[in-house]
């Protein structure tokens, strides 16, 4: 009888194909290590220059209209009592990233934490005690090596969904976003051109909403089909994946981006992050910020325009007022009169409005009346 023996694959995993990006990242990591070797050779203390991510080193670039990081750096040395541990951790993250790249795998930031966590031989101390120690180091490495997290083969959680008349290829699979049912295509956290490529697109613009519940409304009413747009949401403050996707849609496919967010300071802030970038990820602004994004609503004057009732008002609390004033001071809002008026009006109203408030008029008021009207009027805030 013929025996079917299946030999276990003797060879190791198939050879990993390094992309150009990977090679570049590897190069940066190597130079990090080289610095140590050279310093040790010359008998000097090794160090790494990490661009400073504090507010003092962040600037609003007027011409590019994005938040940019300045040139300030912090020096992290091995032979400094306060920095020795974080220096060591920085190098560990570098070596961890190299390992991932070499293996052609990605992992979450928590995964990297577990990969690098161990007891230092000869002591009772752990390299990383908690993930909270590890995350900032990962960010440090990102800025120091000028590589995005994804380039280090680290991903964050998925959040956000997308539907629309666009077909794309994700890790080799073809995705038709017009046929993603009620759930939509879950936007991955790494949407680099190596992973995600655009195949075919007939959409004319992108509508980005804040919450997934609002998105569902639009999806159920097939708004995107009627108006030929791509519909995305970020689940609140949009994560890097969503922002990157929007950025690519805007720049590669030349699609304008409109935002439909709540009428409150948080909504304004989300808009500002999409538009200008965030302080925390200032080094990413040029890859994620969309200065040409537009604010569709909800606006402070919509209360009157849509004839809403007092029952949908939510009173502004102390924090809201403080936040609103703060946002009004942001350099990218301070110079814009319409925005100043908008924020002033909200403060004068004394209340905030969620997009769902429009449901009090009609369940589909937002998709059938509100949004189409605003789009037709081309009445946006910049």
């Amino acid at each position: 009888m013929a025996r079917k023996t299946k030999k276990p694959s003797e060879s190791a995993a198939p050879a990993v194909q390094l992309t150009a990006k990977d090679k570049k990242t590897l190069g940066s990591i190597q130079s990090l290590a080289d610095e140590v070797v050279q310093s040790a050779d010359r008998g000097r203390a090794p160090h790494v220059e990490i661009p400073s991510r504090s507010l003092s080193n962040v600037r609003f670039n007027q011409s590019k209209r994005i938040i940019e990081m300045g040139s300030g750096t912090n020096r992290r040395e091995l032979f400094n009592l306060n920095q020795a541990k974080s220096y060591m951790q920085t190098l560990l993250v570098g070596s961890g990233a190299k390992q991932l790249i070499d293996q052609g795998k990605t992992t979450s930031i928590r995964g990297l934490f577990y990969l690098l966590k161990h007891t230092i031989p000869g002591t009772g101390e752990e390299t990383f005690a908690t993930q909270d120690e590890c995350d900032p180091i990962i960010e440090d490495v990102e800025v120091a090596l000028d590589s995005m997290r994804e380039e280090l083969h680290l991903y964050a959680k998925n959040a956000g969904a997308m539907v629309g008349p666009i077909t794309l290829i994700d890790s080799g699979d073809e995705i038709d976003c017009s046929r993603m049912g009620s759930g939509g295509y879950s936007i991955p956290s790494i949407v680099e051109p190596e992973i995600v490529q655009y195949k075919k697109n007939t959409a004319r613009f992108v509508l980005h909403v804040e919450k997934d519940t609002v998105w569902r409304r639009f999806n159920e009413d097939k708004f995107w089909r009627k108006h030929n747009c791509i519909l995305t949401h970020g689940g609140g403050q949009p994560p890097r994946g969503v922002r990157r996707m929007l950025h690519r849609l805007h720049y590669e496919l030349k699609l304008p981006v409109y935002c439909l967010l709540d009428n409150d300071p948080w909504g304004y802030y989300i808009y500002s992050v999409i538009k200008q970038g965030s302080i925390n990820l200032a080094y990413e602004s040029r890859r994620m910020a969309i200065p040409a994004a537009r604010f569709l609503g909800l606006r402070s004057n919509d209360y009157v325009r849509c004839q809403l009732t007092p029952s949908v008002q939510i009173k502004l609390n102390e924090q809201d007022i403080k936040r609103a004033k703060q946002i009004a001071q942001y350099p990218w809002f301070a110079s814009k009169k319409p925005w100043q008026r908008e924020i002033e009006m909200m403060l004068r109203n004394g209340f905030k409005l969620e997009v769902e408030a429009l449901i009090s008029k009609d369940v589909s008021y937002v998709t059938e009346q509100y949004a189409p009207a605003r789009l037709a009027e081309e009445n946006f805030l910049d």
Binding site: A33, V36, G43, A45, F79, L92, I120
Partner: protein, 672 residues
């Protein structure tokens, strides 16, 4: 009849009461009030007897300019009875004086003069003899030799308490004369008289040759209780050795163990001068007596002769203020005039007394003395300049020892077993607290937790394994945290053993803020830490709170000086503790770097794809850089790579002794 009596029946009349009233002699009074002299209970009595004899011996030797050598011999003589013999190598006592000194209360050389000395009133030794007689019926035995060429004298004496006179019991009321030379030796041996005739092997500091040339030995048999630990004879002798580094004491305890407290210097302290009283310190009554007794013919003479710091000019000022002629006869001064004189003295400006009448121990000897007896790594001392209270000159000296192991860690298993069986403490915890100095409640708790001992166990009923467990726990538990400061109090070089709470010294130590010097301290308590502090008050007249000379009274001038002295040593301690912390931190620094170097080398090697060899090289290189970066720590690591407690750039100033106990046994480094 009875019902018609207007007054209740009188029990006695004034006359019948008068018939029973009579003189009470001093010795009768003290016989009935023993507690005033320190003979309240058997334990204290034993200690007081030894103390009085030792005080006298030391004073006599120093006055004669002889380097003191003492023998203290304690023997059990029945239940609760001890025979105590103290011998010195002093000048000896002449025949005529011996009965008076030992058999008459309030007889002595020190009462009438103002001079720094240990005994202040001349009660001490005769009271001890009296106590011995009262409790055992045995007389005091004294043998004294003034020179090898002259005969020695041996007396057995009792006090006639009614008349305050000595009664000689031996030699048909005359005492015995012992011929000198070999005949004398045989006599001594035959009659069972105790006497140590030869010195043990001389040490580097001893100028004495083989034979004891002169001295006195007093033997008293009395009721007492022998304990070890706090308030014991052993403690007292050890503390005496600390404050008197020129003395050697040979001590044989009731268990026949011999301990020698060897001297650490061959120099006698400088001789204190006698001074005349200062006018400010004199009370009215005394003034009146002095006026009556003076030999000076005129008031001016009386004032300049009887007092210190009174010149003819000052005398005139006083007389003018009192409206008395300088030529007046002192014996004719009446009460009112004496009063005016007293007021005038208080109001006249008179300069402070000369202070060369006090001889301090001095900082170098304090350091030596402490170092000899107390374990520690850091010693410092401060002697305050002399000051004055109520016309009496005095000065304060402070010595501090820090570090070393606590007394509990030094105890051997046998000693512990002995201590436990002797103790009358009701629980082990109490036993620990009372027997050993410097354990706080927390320290006792820790020892008991380590030894798994219950709170209610009685110390005398512990089994062998339990004792062994306790001993192990005591050795292991490092009490530095729980240990409280040990305070040794001295007045005129005599250790004070009792009533610490009432003493100005303890009160000043507690009131001092030790937190600012690096020790932890709860409010109203002694600070904690492995610290021993010794405080010495030297004065022509030490102010005690009571007759038993156990605690020093808190005059404001005295408390002020105490405070300043404590602060002086506190500052030095703070410097030492800071420096120690720094050295520790430097050491930790290097350790931190070393820890991470390995990781860094590994990470880099994995990035660069290094093999083991290259990784080791890289590690070595980084190590070199680390060494250079932590060069400071290097200068403090000795050739064996362990830490030294050596001050690098620290200037402790004078009078500090830092001991490196870890390496090479006891290597001293003195910074002066």
């Amino acid at each position: 009849m009875a019902e018609n009596d207007k007054h209740p029946r009188r029990r006695a009349t004034a006359e019948s009461m008068a018939a029973t009233q009579r003189d009470i002699s001093v010795s009768e009074f003290f016989a009935k009030n023993r507690h005033l002299l320190g003979f309240d209970n058997p334990r204290k009595a034993l200690l007081t007897a030894v103390k009085e004899a030792v005080d006298n011996s030391l004073d006599a030797c120093e006055e004669a300019g002889i380097i003191p050598e003492l023998w203290v011999h304690m023997e059990a003589a029945g239940t609760n009875r001890f025979k105590v013999g103290i011998q010195d190598n002093g000048p000896g006592i002449v025949r005529k004086q011996i009965p008076l000194i030992f058999g008459k209360l309030l007889y002595g050389s020190k009462f009438h003069r103002l001079r720094m000395s240990r005994g202040q009133q001349g009660i001490g030794i005769s009271a001890a003899g009296m106590y011995g007689m009262l409790t055992t019926g045995k007389p005091v035995k004294i043998i004294s030799i003034t020179s090898l060429k002259k005969p020695a004298h041996y007396f057995e004496i009792q006090i006639d308490t009614k008349r305050n006179q000595p009664e000689i019991v031996n030699g048909r009321g005359e005492g015995e004369e012992i011929p000198s030379g070999d005949k004398g030796q045989r006599y001594i041996a035959e009659h069972g008289i105790e006497w140590v005739s030869h010195y043990p092997t001389p040490d580097e500091h001893s100028p004495h040759h083989k034979e004891v040339r002169s001295g006195t030995r007093v033997t008293i048999e009395l009721e007492g209780r022998y304990v070890r630990g706090r308030g014991s004879v052993d403690d007292y002798l050890e503390q005496t050795a600390i404050a008197n580094p020129h003395v050697t004491i040979h001590y044989i305890d009731p268990d026949n163990h011999e301990t020698t407290y060897a001297r650490s210097t061959g120099q006698l302290p400088p001789e204190p001068r006698e001074i005349k009283p200062h006018p400010y310190g004199i009370e009215l009554g005394r003034l009146v007596t002095m006026l009556k007794d003076t030999t000076g013919g005129t008031m001016a003479q009386f004032l300049t002769d009887s007092f210190s710091r009174v010149s003819p000019g000052v005398a005139k000022q006083i007389c003018d203020a009192a409206k008395i002629s300088t030529r007046a006869n002192p014996k004719r001064i009446g009460r009112q005039e004496a009063d005016a004189l007293y007021q005038a003295i208080q109001n006249t400006k008179i300069s402070a007394p000369a202070t060369d009448c006090i001889s301090p121990i001095g900082e170098p000897l304090i350091l030596k003395g402490l170092h000899q007896q107390v374990p520690g790594e850091f010693f410092c001392a401060a002697t305050r300049p002399p000051a004055v209270y109520r016309g009496n000159p005095f000065l304060i000296e402070v010595g501090l020892a820090y570090g070393g192991s606590s007394p509990t860690q030094k105890v051997s298993l046998e000693t512990l077993t002995d201590l436990l069986s002797e103790s009358d403490a009701r629980s082990v915890r109490q036993f620990l607290l009372t027997t050993f100095d410097g354990i706080g409640a927390a320290g006792a708790e820790r020892i008991m937790a380590e030894a798994r001992m219950g709170a209610r166990q009685s110390p005398s009923k512990l089994k062998k394994e339990e004792i062994a467990l306790l001993h192990g726990a005591m050795k292991n538990v490092n009490l530095s945290e729980g240990q409280s400061m040990q305070v040794l109090r001295y007045a005129n070089r005599v250790p004070l053993q009792f009533q610490p709470a009432a003493c100005a010294i303890t009160q000043s130590v507690i009131a001092n803020n030790w937190r600012s010097y690096g020790l932890s301290q709860s409010r109203g308590q002694l600070p904690s830490g492995p610290v021993t502090i010794m405080v010495h008050m030297a004065s022509v007249w030490v102010p005690f709170t009571s007759e038993s000379k156990e605690a020093i009274a808190s005059y404001p001038e005295v408390t002020k000086e105490l405070r300043l002295g404590l602060q002086a040593v506190g500052r030095k301690l703070a410097m030492y503790l800071n420096q120690r912390k720094r050295v520790q931190q430097e050491g930790e620094r290097r350790e931190i770097f070393l820890r991470y170097l390995g990781e860094v080398a590994t990470a880099v090697s994995s990035i660069k794809g290094y093999g083991e060899g290259k990784k080791k090289d890289l590690y070595g290189q980084l190590l070199d850089v680390a060494k250079r970066k932590t060069a400071v720590a290097d200068t403090q690591l000795d050739d064996r790579g362990r830490k030294k407690a050596e001050p690098v750039a620290e200037d402790f100033g004078e009078n500090v002794l830092i001991v490196d106990v870890e390496q090479h046994g006891q290597e001293n480094k003195e910074t002066v």
